[in-house]
């Protein structure tokens, strides 16, 4: 125990120092509000209705830099097994190696590499998407519900993009099932 006390003191001191630095730092880490976040997708097929689904397990971090928005960043991790299209047997089928292959590739990751503001409430976020073990750049359009400002406590984001699944080796069903999977993520971020 004795050895831990100085360590605890050190930890508190360090985090206090970091917090002070954080207040001055340009970019701040915002928290994703899971209750107001939905990671959704739609896929079209020939002779079959559009399939709409969500992933119920995810984890995301958003770092916002109001002065220099292009220094903002976002990282999102989605648990592939949490796919939900409204039918347990359909979900199980999507978990197999024909589609997400969750046994081998449990996570789908997106890590931004650049952010470009299009106008005060729209950005183009480019990043690396890792799906089924393949990592490729994709660009996502992000809309903010109002012009971000320092006094905002919450910001709503809507991110949309199109994922060419064949490029990630998810070939099953093509061309009966389309190549493009439309991704729509809505989220609310809470100020630090």
């Amino acid at each position: 125990m004795a050895a831990r006390v100085p360590f605890l003191v050190l930890a508190i001191a360090t985090s206090a120092a970091l917090a002070a630095a954080g207040a001055r730092a340009a970019s701040a880490a915002w928290r994703i509000d899971p209750a107001h976040t939905s990671v959704g997708f739609t896929v079209d097929a020939v002779g079959f209705p559009r399939t709409k689904g969500t992933f119920s397990k995810f984890f995301g971090k958003i770092s916002l830099d109001f002065a220099r928005p292009e220094r903002s960043s976002v990282a999102f991790r989605v648990s592939a097994a949490s796919v939900d299209v409204g039918s347990p047997s359909f979900d199980d089928y999507l978990r197999t190696d024909a589609f997400f292959d969750v046994a081998k590739f449990p996570d789908i990751d997106f890590v931004s590499t650049s952010v470009r503001m299009v106008d005060p409430t729209h950005a183009e976020v480019t990043g690396d998407l890792s799906l089924r073990g393949v990592t490729r750049p994709i660009t996502i359009e992000v809309a903010v519900d109002r012009p971000p400002s320092r006094d905002a406590r919450r910001l709503g984001f809507t991110a949309t993009g199109s994922i060419p699944r064949l490029a990630y080796g998810m070939n099953a069903g093509f061309p009966a099932i389309s190549n493009d999977v439309v991704l729509t993520v809505t989220t609310a971020a809470i100020a630090p």
């Binding site: 399939t51 709409k52 409204g86 039918s87 047997s89 359909f90 069903g173 061309p175 009966a176 099932i177």
Partner: protein
Amino acid sequence: MTARSARWNVATRLLHWLSAAAIVAALGLGVWMVRFVDDAAGKFDLYQRHKTLGAAVFALAVARLLVRAATRGPDWPEAMSRARRAAAGAVHGALYASILATAATGYAMVSTSPIPLPVALPGGLSVPNLLAPDFAASERWKFAHLACAIALGALAAAHAGAATWHRFVDRDDVLSRMGFGWRA
């Protein structure tokens, strides 16, 4: 009153009514799931059930043909004309053919589909997809499946109509000898 003939053997009678129920269900489910269900999840589940039901129809038809080959059924009623006997025989033959063809085209459509989703059987087993994926071929099999199902539905309706005719117009025992209870 014509002399009563023997009933069909019990295996044939059981297979007949099980097949009838399974075919009516497969036809109804097929039309329902394709034409009236438009959410993807519901459709997925119904398609899977329809495929399993279709496999059951196929298995029942094969069993029925085996029993038929191994046993002898009752004779035609005395009063039936040669022409009606020939017509009945032709419809029965066409019924077997259309049942097998509907199941076979269903299997061919699923097996050539680029979507690898085999027919599920009880006990976690499944029917392997033996044909190579080919989207255009799968679409053609889909059309053939619909055509066979329509033919099967029409033949089944004619068959049921003829049985009703025997019962209420001819008043013979053709219907009751396929049954388990009351005899004409």
